[in-house]
Amino acid sequence: MKLNEINLFRTMVRLRAFDEACIEGVPTFEIHGELHTSIGQEAIGAAMAQSLTPHDAVVSTHRNHYHALAKGVPPRALMAEIFEKETGLCRGRGGHMHPFDPERNFSATGIVGASLPVALGYAYNFKLKGLPYVAVGICGDGATNHGTFHECLNMAAAWGLPLVCLVENNQYAISVRFSDVTATPGIAERAAAYGALGRRVDGTDVEEVVKAFAEVAKHTRKGGGPSLLEATCYRHRGHYEGDHDNYRERAEKQRMRAEMDPIARYRRMLVERGAAEGELDQIVAAAKGEMSAMLADIRKDAMPDPAGAMDHVFAEVV
């Protein structure tokens, strides 16, 4: 097999194993808030990782672990943050919805619709300084009906800012179906209204997402202005761990999990191309082993000292 194919497969498998390890912390209350996993959406993170440079910026959402890992955020620091440890990326102050890694220009927000404006700020900075970088603002289908979606694409287009708007259309804003609140079949068609490049891709076909993301990122990086990539996908689990998820029919979930699993799809494709099942199994086992060992290690880390609860409100003592 070509190295790149195996790497893509491994990347997706590691993203899933990371989230599966995190899920272990929910019933034990080690993660004592909600947890949003990306299971079923790994192809998008893996594809993004192929095109981004360390200087590019990514602003993600409440469902952000795979975007963070794709941007190069150290997995251990991220998992420790999700498990609320002092050793975490943000010393346990942020938690799983609010990871910040300024060295890698990665951040996220827990508020739907709030990611794009921050990404626009990074894009503005790149344009101001004449730097060849892009800012990726990620949102879901739900956020595309938020005012910021219109405002940011409009400003990015008006000023020619290097903003890549990546929409993960998993068809549900918690329980509200995209088709119940939107007249158009998708979101990519809105790009024309802003004079932006618009593309739609099957977000569970990893090689197609790699190509599509590379195309829009290249367009934007070369000064073509903002681009809008809609990646269709399906959330395999509830909105958060513990979600009763009674708003989606059981039959629909079973069918979609089978049809829209990027890892299973890619595995079939690779086997058809001659990959050895055993080699793929080893990759899966190695990723699970890596993440289990990481979790076991993190479990030994200290929780933040209560004496520091008031630290970091201000940069300077006031």
Partner: protein, 340 residues
């Protein structure tokens, strides 16, 4: 302030002072960028960003569409990317449109990141009563002060407008800079307090109150345009033998409780005048903090004079009975003096 500075004093108004501070800070630090509605071609609807576009160009002086939520969030991203944005929200009343980015992003990201991210961002906005009725007259400084993570500055004198804006821009913390519309429109020669402004760049430290008038009978604490009103009132009652000590807070986060408490301990009487709403606000906060410091029975008199909990009406006859002004402040001072 140096002797050279004292030699280069001019009478300029608050709006000119802010614009001059922005100009000088942008000259010496290319990371400083201003954005908002009408900040460029128009120079700000109150003129407080005049002369910037011509000198610094549209990438650093950015007229925005009416998209407050997104351009405020854009400021957050710019600050995280290493710039020092000044985001203008034309009237503080508009903050409802973009409060999400203000209190969930700008104010919280330094903490949520465990101190890894700095947020050197200023929100510059106009507040206060000038007869513009309910949706264009609020102060709202207590609203920002209630939400953790922001410094909240509201200058009074033209000199402080310049020095505190420089401090806000140079701070690594997010700063809400509330200009009073009445002060922005006031002529330079009309300022009672510190109308002389040095031509050179200078910084007025954020967090230190200014004792504008020394006195021994009543401690009067306020900020922004009410400092000017209180000076008028204090002058009125001085002839009647009431000697007011007037403190201009300058900022309410941080709040200089020490200066207020020292004065109150001396006079035994504390009056807080606040153009913001009364309930759950600045006046109660100051009184409680002073009592926490000095003891619950340390003072003889406590009074609050603030906007009662009602939207600001359009009619002058109604506005006048709700918003503190020189006459109403003098009346409260006389009542306090008579009661003791």
């Amino acid at each position: 302030m140096t002797a050279d500075m004292a030699a280069n004093m001019r009478k300029i108004n608050a709006s000119q002072a802010v614009a001059e501070s922005l100009f000088q800070e942008m000259e010496c630090d290319e990371r400083v960028v201003i954005l908002g509605e009408d900040v460029g071609r128009c120079g700000g609807v109150f003129g407080s960003s005049r002369n910037l576009l011509d000198r610094f160009g549209p990438m650093r002086v950015r007229d925005t569409p009416i998209s407050e939520m997104s351009f405020t969030g854009m400021g957050v991203g710019m600050a995280m990317a290493g710039l020092r944005p000044v985001v203008e929200i034309m009237f503080v009343d508009f903050i409802g449109v973009c409060l999400e980015q203000v209190y969930n992003a700008m104010a919280k990201i330094p903490y949520m990141s465990g101190g890894r991210v700095k947020m050197p961002m200023v929100i510059k906005t106009a507040g206060g009563n000038i007869g513009s009725a309910a949706q264009h007259s609020q102060c709202l400084w207590a609203t920002f002060a209630h939400l953790p993570g922001m410094q909240v500055v509201a200058p009074s004198s033209a000199r402080d407008h310049k020095g505190l804006m420089a401090a806000a821009i140079r701070s690594d913390n997010p700063v809400i800079f509330i200009e009073h519309k009445g002060l922005l429109l006031k002529q330079a020669k009309e300022f009672l307090n510190a109308g002389d402004v040095p031509a050179e760049p200078f910084v007025t430290p954020i967090g230190k109150a200014d004792i504008v008038r020394k006195g021994g009978d009543i401690t009067l604490v306020t900020l922004s345009a009410s400092v000017e009103y209180a000076m008028e009132a204090a002058a009125q009652v001085a002839g009647e033998g009431i000697d007011v000590e007037l403190i201009d807070l300058r900022s309410i986060v941080p709040l200089d409780v020490e200066t207020v408490a020292q004065s109150a301990a001396k006079t035994g009487r504390l009056l807080v005048v606040d153009e913001d709403y009364l309930s759950f606000g600045l006046s109660a906060e100051i009184i409680v903090r002073v009592l926490e410091r000095l003891g619950p029975s340390s003072l003889r008199q406590l009074r609050r004079h603030a906007v009662p909990d009602v939207p600001i009406p359009a009619a002058l006859s109604l506005e006048e009975v709700l918003v503190p002004g020189p006459a109403s402040i003098a009346r409260v001072l006389r009542e306090m003096a008579a009661a003791s």
